[in-house]
Amino acid sequence: MSARAAWRLESLGFGQVYDYAAGKSDWMAAGLPTEGTAVGRSTAATVARREVPTCHLEESLRDVRERVRAAGWDACVVVNEKRIVMGLLRADQLVREGDVTAGSAMRPGPSTFRPHVAIEELAKVMATRDLPNVPVTTSAGELIGLLVREDVEKAVHARQGGPS
């Protein structure tokens, strides 16, 4: 949408038009301040865990499993060298036996959320589809963090004023 706006402005005689294509999602994902009625609202960007285990396609699943478990996780995001999400290793994939790579064991093309999605929507989708965790990415697919369903449900509960 911003690209069309930029072209339209140029057609109207504006000579120095710049398109911040990554836009509000990118801004919020970076944790920069915003203004408006929803400031302070919890979103995928604010609830996602940033220090999430990652691995590459060609890594040994056995090595990845040991590293992930040692870090206290039961999931690992498979990324490329640009930190673009390639797949996801949830608990079911991490326990796979044999001499296999992360790339062959992962769930390819997992569902992802954008950073601006409100926690109520996250909770609804994760419950409906029984998703224990979901990566949060930029529009370009770069990993921002991993949403853990328990965290999302706690955040919704806290927003509704329930005891923590």
Binding site: M1, S2, A5, V17, Y18, Y20, A21, G23, K24, A38
Partner: protein, 67 residues
């Protein structure tokens, strides 16, 4: 031809006086927008936009993302 920029350049341009414009619908702007942004939805960008924006100054436009 409009120039696609990233976050850091956008920040630099705005700090140097560029006009920052969100082109999303009103509700989305009201809920959350970048500091100092003005709201001109895509459908309202017509010749009358000169009343809100100075053509001789740089303009940075944005929406949610490029997807």
């Amino acid at each position: 031809m409009p120039t696609e920029i990233g976050r850091e350049v956008a920040q630099q341009l705005v700090a140097a006086g560029a006009q920052l414009v969100e082109v999303l619908p009103e509700e989305e702007f009201d809920e959350q927008h970048l500091p100092g942004a003005i709201h001109i939805p895509l459908r309202k960008i017509d010749p009358s936009v000169r009343a809100s924006l100075a053509p001789e100054r740089p303009v940075v436009v944005y929406c949610w993302d490029s997807a």
